[in-house]
C-alpha cells in the first residue's frame, strides 16, 4: 500500500467542499409491483486522491448509486425522488443537461463490469478511445489515434500500435477491461467510478487490473469510487468503505478499522461470512434471511428482520448514520455496543 491512509483533499481542491458529495439521495423505480425504493437516503463523501469502496450485495443499490452519479440511470423506470449530488460543490442533479454532459467522461468517468458488452462490438477499440479526444477536445483523427495508442500503452496493452484497429471481441477479458480503463481515464477525470471492475475476470487478472487502477489513481490523484461485493478486493485498495444495505449506507469507516472493529451488525455478518484460510471456524456463518423487498421496506432499520441484536426500537425507528468514533459512522442504534463487542444476541437468534 503506497497511498497515504488519510488523504489531504486540500491540495487539488480549489474550494473547501469535497470532490464529490452525495447528500440524502433517494432513487425509486416505478414497477408494476409498486414503487421500489432502490436508494433510500444515501450519504457519501469522496475526496481527491481517495478510494472509496461501496460494498453491498446485489440489490443493495450500489450500481444504481453509480448510475445516478454518472447520470446514466434509465429514467423511466428510474426516478430521482430527492437529494443532491455535489461535484466540487455544484449540484449535478439541478445542473443544465448540456453542462452536465460535458462533465461526463471528462471530469467524472466510469468503468463498467462487463467490458465485452460495455464496449461497442462493431467499432475498433482505438476508435472508441479516440472518440473521447475527438468529441471533447476537437482533436483531429490522426492525433486522436496517436493519443489512443499512447493510452493503450499506458494501461499495459502489448503491441498497442498494431492492436489499435482491433475490435473488442479480439481481446481477452483482462485486456478488454484495460481498454475500458484507458477510455475512462483518457481525459484525466477527477472522479472515476468503477462498477465491479473485476467481477467478470479471472482471479489472477483481477489482481493485475486492480493494481493498474490503483497506480493510475495515485498518478492522477483521482477520487476513485470502487463498487464491489468482494470484501477481498476492498481490503487491498480502498481507503474508506461504505457498506450499503437496502439502498442505505449502514456503516462508513477507514478500511482497517472496519475489518477490526465493525460497528454495525450487517458488516459484522458480512465479515463472518467470509471463509478464513486459517480455518478457525469450521462453518461459514451466513446471514440468515433475505434482503427486504424494495417495494415493501420494513419499518425502522431495514436490517432489523435479519439482525440478531434487533429490539423493538429497531423496528420502530430508523437509526441515523452517526459517528461511533472519529471518521467511523454507523447506522445502528447500538453502534457503540457492537463496536465494543459488548452486545449479546437475542435468545432465538442464537438457536
Amino acid at each position: 500500500m503506497t497511498t497515504p491512509r488519510t488523504p489531504e483533499p486540500s491540495f487539488t481542491g480549489d474550494t473547501a467542499s469535497p470532490l464529490l458529495e452525495v447528500v440524502d439521495l433517494h432513487v425509486e423505480f416505478h414497477t408494476k409491483a409498486g414503487v421500489a425504493q432502490a436508494i433510500n437516503g444515501l450519504n457519501v463523501t469522496l475526496n481527491a486522491g481517495e478510494t472509496l469502496a461501496i460494498l453491498g450485495e446485489s440489490g443493495s443499490g450500489k450500481s444504481v448509486t453509480a448510475q445516478t452519479i454518472m447520470g446514466i440511470l434509465d429514467m423511466p423506470p428510474g426516478h430521482i425522488a430527492g437529494g443532491e449530488i455535489r461535484y466540487r460543490g455544484e449540484d449535478l442533479l439541478t445542473m443544465k443537461p448540456e453542462k452536465r454532459r460535458k462533465l461526463r467522461g471528462v471530469s467524472i468517468s466510469m468503468i463498467f463490469q462487463d467490458a465485452l458488452s460495455a464496449l461497442n462490438p462493431v467499432l475498433p477499440v482505438g476508435w472508441q478511445i479516440a472518440e473521447m479526444f475527438r468529441v471533447h477536445q476537437g482533436m483531429n483523427r490522426k492525433l486522436a489515434r496517436q493519443k489512443s495508442i499512447a493510452m493503450m500503452q499506458r494501461v499495459g496493452i502489448p503491441a498497442a500500435e498494431e492492436r489499435v484497429g482491433d475490435f473488442p471481441h479480439q481481446f481477452s477479458g483482462g485486456m478488454r477491461q484495460r481498454i475500458m480503463i484507458a477510455m475512462a481515464i483518457a481525459l484525466d477525470p477527477d472522479v472515476l467510478i468503477a462498477d465491479e471492475p473485476t467481477t467478470a475476470l479471472d482471479v489472477t487478472v483481477q489482481a493485475q487490473v486492480m493494481r493498474l487502477l490503483k497506480e493510475l489513481q495515485v498518478e492522477n490523484n483521482m477520487g476513485l469510487i470502487l463498487i464491489t461485493h468482494d470484501l477481498g478486493v476492498v481490503a487491498d485498495v480502498a481507503d474508506k468503505i461504505a457498506v450499503m444495505y437496502a439502498g442505505q449506507v449502514m456503516e462508513v469507516s477507514d478500511v482497517y478499522e472496519i475489518y477490526a472493529q465493525p460497528a454495525h451488525p450487517y458488516t459484522e455478518g458480512l465479515l463472518n461470512s467470509v471463509p478464513r484460510i486459517d480455518g478457525q471456524d469450521e462453518r461459514l456463518n451466513a446471514i440468515s434471511g433475505l434482503p427486504p423487498s424494495l417495494t415493501d421496506m420494513p419499518s425502522g432499520c431495514p436490517f432489523h428482520p435479519r439482525c440478531p441484536y434487533a429490539t423493538d426500537l429497531c423496528s420502530a425507528e430508523r437509526p441515523g448514520l452517526l459517528p461511533v468514533v472519529a471518521e467511523h459512522t454507523s447506522a445502528c442504534h447500538y453502534r457503540e455496543e457492537i463496536y465494543n463487542g459488548t452486545r449479546q444476541p437475542r435468545e432465538e437468534a442464537q438457536a
Partner: protein, 308 residues
C-alpha cells in the same frame, strides 16, 4: 446485468413455485399470459372482430345478402351505388354487393388451405432438419435455397399459366409449392434456438427418446413464432391469390372472387371506380385482419418479441 433488473426481480417478490407443480403451472401460465396480453391488445380485438365477420361471410354469405350474385340482368348494368344496390352493379348487371360478399369464400379457402398445409409441412421439415442436423439439414436447406431462388409470385405465375383449368385447389397447390420454405426455415431457426438449452440436455440425459423430446420439450417451446406467422401468412396468401387472379392466372370465371372483380374493374378505372374500390377494401380488410391477428399472436406467444 444492472441493478435495475434485480430491482424488478426483488420487486416482483414471487415465491418460487412448488417443484411438483412447476411444469404444469409454467405451461398454463405461458398460455394464460398470452391470452391476458392478447385481450389487452387493441389490434387483436379489432382483428378478431373483423375475422369473425369475414369468416361468417365466407361460410354463410346468405346471412349478409338476399340477392343472388349470379342474377345479372344486363338492363341494370353499370349502376352507381344506391340504396337498392349498395355497391352498385357491375358490367353484366349483377348486384355488386352480393358479388363482393360471395367473393369471400374463395379467398378464405385458398388462404386457409395454403396456410394450414404450409404450416404442417414447414413445422415437420424444420423440426427434422434442426433436430437431426447433418446431411438431413443440409439437403433440406439446399432445397429451400432452390425454391427461394424463384420469387414465389413469378413461380406461381409461370406454373399456373401452364394449366388451362385452375380451381381453388390448383392455385393453392402452386402457392404451397413455392412458399413452404419460409416456414421450414422459421421453424428450424426456432428449434435451433431451444435445442441447446440445458433442459433439453437434461431430458436427454434422463433417457428421453427423440420423439418425446420433440413433442414434450421442443415443440411447445418453438411453436410460438411459427403460429403467429401462420396467421400473418394467411393474409399474405389471400393477397397473393387476389394478385394472381388479377393477373389472369388464378381463379377463373364463373368463379366469384375478389381478384376477378379487380381484374375486370381495372379496365374501368376512370369511368366506374366503385368496381375497383369495393373488392379492394375487402381484400385489404381481410389481409389486414389476418396480418394483425398474427402479429398480436406472435407478440403474445414469443416471449422474446414482447413489446418493451
Amino acid at each position: 446485468m444492472t441493478e435495475l433488473n434485480k430491482a424488478h426481480t426483488v420487486a416482483a417478490g414471487e415465491p418460487p413455485p412448488a417443484p411438483k407443480k412447476a411444469k404444469a403451472q409454467e405451461e398454463a401460465s405461458l398460455w394464460m399470459d398470452a391470452w391476458r396480453s392478447l385481450r389487452r391488445n387493441p389490434w387483436f380485438v379489432v382483428s378478431a372482430v373483423l375475422l369473425v365477420v369475414l369468416v361468417t361471410m365466407a361460410l354463410f354469405p346468405q346471412l349478409f345478402t338476399d340477392n343472388d350474385p349470379r342474377a345479372c340482368p344486363l338492363s341494370r348494368s353499370r349502376q352507381e351505388p344506391s340504396a337498392e344496390h349498395w355497391f352498385g352493379t357491375d358490367i353484366q348487371g349483377c348486384d355488386y354487393y352480393a358479388r363482393v360478399i360471395y367473393g369471400a369464400a374463395n379467398s378464405m379457402a385458398v388462404g386457409v388451405i395454403v396456410s394450414l398445409s404450409v404450416f404442417v409441412i414447414g413445422v415437420a421439415l424444420g423440426l427434422v432438419a434442426a433436430f437431426f442436423g447433418g446431411w438431413v439439414d443440409a439437403v433440406l436447406m439446399r432445397l429451400t435455397d432452390l425454391v427461394f431462388a424463384i420469387p414465389y409470385l413469378l413461380g406461381a405465375l409461370v406454373f399456373l399459366a401452364v394449366q388451362s383449368e385452375r380451381s381453388v385447389w390448383d392455385v393453392s397447390l402452386i402457392l404451397i409449392v413455392f412458399t413452404w420454405p419460409t416456414f421450414a426455415r422459421l421453424m428450424r431457426g426456432s428449434v435451433l434456438a431451444v435445442i441447446n438449452n440445458d433442459y433439453i440436455t437434461a431430458a436427454r440425459a434422463l433417457g428421453a427418446g427423440p420423439l418425446t423430446i420433440m413433442r414434450r420439450h421442443i415443440l411447445p417451446n418453438s411453436l410460438g413464432p411459427v403460429v403467429g406467422y401462420a396467421a400473418v401468412f394467411t393474409g399474405i396468401v389471400i393477397g397473393a391469390e387476389a394478385t394472381l387472379t388479377f393477373l389472369g392466372v388464378g381463379l377463373q370465371l364463373p368463379a366469384i372472387s375478389w381478384g376477378l372483380q379487380l381484374d375486370e374493374a381495372k379496365s374501368y378505372l376512370q369511368q366506374l371506380p366503385h368496381l375497383l374500390t369495393f373488392p379492394l377494401i375487402f381484400v385489404a380488410l381481410t389481409v389486414f385482419a389476418f396480418t394483425s391477428m398474427g402479429e398480436a399472436l406472435r407478440d403474445a406467444l414469443d416471449p422474446k418479441s414482447k413489446k418493451r
